[in-house]
Amino acid sequence: MPDKIRIAVTVNGTAHDVLVEPRTLLLDFLRDQLALTGAHAGCEQGACGACTVLVDGEPTRACLMFAAQLDGAEVTTVESLAGPDGTLHPVQRAFTENHGLQCGFCTPGMLLAACALLEHNPHPEPSDVREALSGNLCRCTGYQNIVRSVVAAGAEV
C-alpha cells in the first residue's frame, strides 16, 4: 500500500490538514471525506463536467485530479455559494429565475463555471457564456436557459 500524502487544503474557506491515498480522486475526496456532495460523478472521464469545482479559482474537472495534488490549494464547491441562512448567490438566483435547471445534476458544475467566468468577465455575451460552459454537458434543459441565466447574472451584477 503506497504511502498516504499529507495535504493542507482549504475548502470553501475551511482549512484541512489531512492524509489522503494517492489515488483518491479530488471528486471522491470532496464527496466521501468532506461530505460535500454537490460535485457529481457523471462519467469519470472528463467528458461531462458534472464534477466541476474551482481549484485556485479555475474550473477544474475533479474526476481528473487527485486530492494528493492539492497541498496548498484552495478549492471552492457549490456549497459555498448560498448563505447559511438560505440566501441564494446571485448566480443561483439567476438560474432559478430563468429556469436554468431541471434535474440539477449538471447544475453545480454549471454554477461554478459561471462564477469563474463572471469573475473575469462580469458582463458576458451569450457567446462568452457558450465558450466558458462548452465543456459542461446537460441532458435536461437544452442549454438555452442556462446561457440566459448566466447572462442575466452578469446583468444583475
Binding site: P22, C63, M65, F66
Partner: protein, 293 residues
C-alpha cells in the same frame, strides 16, 4: 471507474523529477495536466505504479521566444499557449491548433507538451508540431537531447522518449513572417471532440507567388500523425490553383492509412484527408498572399 493504486511523488525541481524517472523508469509516468493521463488511469488502461507530479516545477511553466524559436515548457497550459503573443505571432499554426483542443475548461489544465508526449494519433498538437517543424526537448539524468517532431511520434500513444526521459519543452522555430501562411483545419463529430481528421499546413510562397515550401501534417488518419510528403513535393515550385490543391489533397489521402472506428471508417477519414488538406492549403495560401504586400 477508479484508478489502480500508485505512489505519488511531487518533485520541486527538474533534477528531482529526473532522479525519480531514473529510479522507476517505465513503472513511472509524469503527471502534468492530467486531462489525458488521469482519464486513462481511471479506466485502468494506464496503471503506472509511480506518478511523478511535475506541476510544482515552476521553471517548466514558461513560454518564451528566443533565438528564433518559441519554447513552451512542460507545464505551460494549453490556455496559456492560446493567449501567448509569442505562440500566436511566432507559430500561428500551433496557436490555431491549440484553440481547437477540447474545451476551454480542459485547456486550463491540459499542457501542450503533455498533449504532444501523449502522442494520440488523433490529437491536434502533434500534427501542428510536425507541420511547424518543431522538436521536443528531452532530459534525463543522462543529459539532454532534442528529438525532431518527424522522429518523435513512433506509433499510437508511443513516442521516442526513453522510459527515464522527461519532455521538458517544445522548441518550435518561428514561422517566417513574409509570404508565409498557415492553417489548422479539422472535422470532429461534435465540438470539442478529437478530430476524425485534422490538417496543419504551413506554406511559404516565393516572390512570383509559387510555392517555395509547404509542410503538411495530418492527424486522425494513421497510427501516428503524418507528414504528407508527396503532397508537399507536388506543390513545390508550382503556382497553386484549384486543380493543384485537389491533387495535393488526393496525395495526402493516399499517404493516410486510417484506423476506422465508430466516428468514421477508414475510407471516410481518407476522404476527409483529401478535403481538409485542400481546404487547409487554400487558407494557408490565401493568408500567405495577404502577407505578400
Amino acid at each position: 471507474m477508479k484508478p489502480a493504486p500508485f505512489a505519488y511523488l511531487a518533485p520541486r525541481s527538474v533534477d528531482e523529477a529526473l532522479a525519480h524517472l531514473a529510479e522507476h523508469g517505465s513503472e513511472a509516468r509524469p503527471l502534468a495536466g492530467g486531462q489525458s493521463l488521469v482519464r486513462l488511469m481511471n479506466t485502468r488502461l494506464a496503471t503506472p505504479s509511480v506518478l511523478i507530479d511535475i506541476n510544482r516545477i515552476g521553471e517548466l511553466a514558461a513560454i518564451s521566444r528566443e533565438n528564433g524559436a518559441v519554447r513552451i515548457g512542460a507545464v505551460a497550459r494549453q490556455r496559456a499557449c492560446e493567449t501567448s503573443p509569442d505562440v500566436r505571432d511566432g507559430v500561428p499554426v500551433f496557436a490555431e491548433a491549440v484553440r481547437q483542443v477540447a474545451h476551454p475548461s480542459v485547456r486550463r489544465r491540459g499542457t501542450a507538451v503533455g498533449s504532444v508526449a501523449f502522442a494520440d494519433p488523433s490529437a491536434e498538437l502533434p500534427a501542428a508540431l510536425l507541420a511547424a517543424d518543431g522538436e521536443v526537448v528531452a532530459r534525463s539524468s543522462r543529459g539532454e537531447r532534442t528529438i525532431a517532431a518527424d522522429d518523435f511520434f513512433t506509433g499510437p500513444f508511443t513516442s521516442a522518449l526513453a522510459p527515464d526521459e522527461l519532455a521538458v519543452a517544445l522548441r518550435i522555430p518561428v514561422t517566417a513572417a513574409e509570404r508565409t501562411g498557415s492553417a489548422f483545419v479539422e472535422e470532429s463529430r461534435r465540438h470539442g471532440e478529437l478530430p476524425m481528421c485534422g490538417v496543419a499546413a504551413v506554406v511559404t510562397l516565393d516572390g512570383d507567388g509559387a510555392v517555395a515550401q509547404a509542410r503538411i501534417a495530418l492527424c486522425g488518419v494513421h497510427r501516428r500523425p503524418i507528414r504528407a510528403r508527396d503532397a508537399e513535393a507536388a506543390l513545390q515550385s508550382e503556382h497553386p490553383d484549384d486543380e493543384l490543391l485537389q491533387a495535393a489533397g488526393a496525395l495526402a489521402a493516399s499517404a493516410a492509412d486510417p484506423v476506422g472506428d465508430c466516428h468514421g471508417s477508414a475510407a471516410f477519414r481518407r476522404h476527409l484527408a483529401a478535403v481538409l488538406t485542400r481546404r487547409a492549403l487554400a487558407t494557408a495560401i490565401s493568408r500567405a498572399e495577404e502577407r505578400n504586400a
